[in-house]
Symmetry: C2
Subunit: 154 residues, 2 copies
DNA sequence: TATAATTCAGACTCTTTTATCTTTAATTTA
DNA sequence: TAAATTAAAGATAAAAGAGTCTGAATTATA
């Protein structure tokens, strides 16, 4: 898998929050965790990172929770991936060859650069607005990580 | 990094063997390990897998070692990657979304398919012949994994 | 036939990453 | 003040990846 579980959890949670928009202000993490069947504490950590990266806002206390820090169209998939997985996926030589660079490119250097640019482009143009629109049209399910496991903490 | 260390070691070793072609028949693993500064026993395992996947031939005893099982132009990068890393990199939904498929594609499904095809294409067309040609032209170094460590076993 | 050189095979350890759980503290609302 | 909620840090567990070690099997050659 290209993306880590942390990253997909973060994405699913963000999408979930995006589709709740309007119904209320802050969405409690515990509820997200229950709906998506993700460990509450794990999800908490993930959302904390999204908060520090200014993708989410959080609020403590009763009626607290998280909400999007910006409008859905201003949050790209790339933002979430960078916040959670960093950009190590997109850096360096594909082959891991030492010394590969512009001056001495490996045989795949060029074509990998192209592929990578395509990937980055699609990650950057995909934003929460279009994705949650897809969800409302029924093109995409976010019905939870149903891996058959029961977790202690939601 | 997209590819595992196992995979880059395997690739480097295979390239090394390819560039030795003609000088002798079998190349001892111990020598490859010394030249590329890769742990001998670890490299042995890797090359065993390449042998079972019919990328290398091996020979025991004095003057033994490994050699390419086919001509360099008939061994693609993809062959090596599949033998060592499998094809899990190229399978499944990029986002890891449950239920993503042709009938209910996620928002990135199409563009990811395209990117993936490009990557697979370049991995498939890159073969040892062209790559070792680059090496002879000095475009690519395979001068070893010089990570500053000394290994006990070469 | 003995010996040395080599791969083969498997078990083992160490490290890193990923995922989860536990606990305590801080904050906010009612 | 009590209850609800996130914040923070760390412990733990599981899995995968990387690397090491030992011994057996095979082979060339002296």
């Amino acid at each position: 898998m290209l993306l880590s579980k942390t990253c997909t959890y973060g994405l699913l949670a963000t999408l979930f929050v995006a589709t709740q928009k309007g119904k209320r202000d802050y969405v409690p993490i515990r509820e997200i965790s229950r709906q998506l069947n993700i460990s509450f504490h794990f999800l908490t950590k993930i959302l904390q990172r999204l908060t520090t990266h200014n993708i989410m806002n959080s609020h403590r206390g009763p009626n607290g929770g998280v909400r999007l820090a910006r409008t859905p169209d201003q949050i790209s998939l790339m933002d979430i991936i960078e916040a959670l997985d960093g950009n190590k996926i997109f850096e360096g030589c594909v082959l891991g060859l030492p010394g590969c660079g512009e001056t001495a490119p490996c045989p795949l250097h060029q074509s990998w650069s192209q592929s990578r640019d395509i990937i980055i482009h699609s990650f950057t143009t995909a934003n929460l607005a279009t994705m949650s629109h897809e969800i409302q049209k029924g093109m995409l399910r976010i019905s939870g990580m149903d891996d058959g496991l029961t977790r202690k903490d939601h």
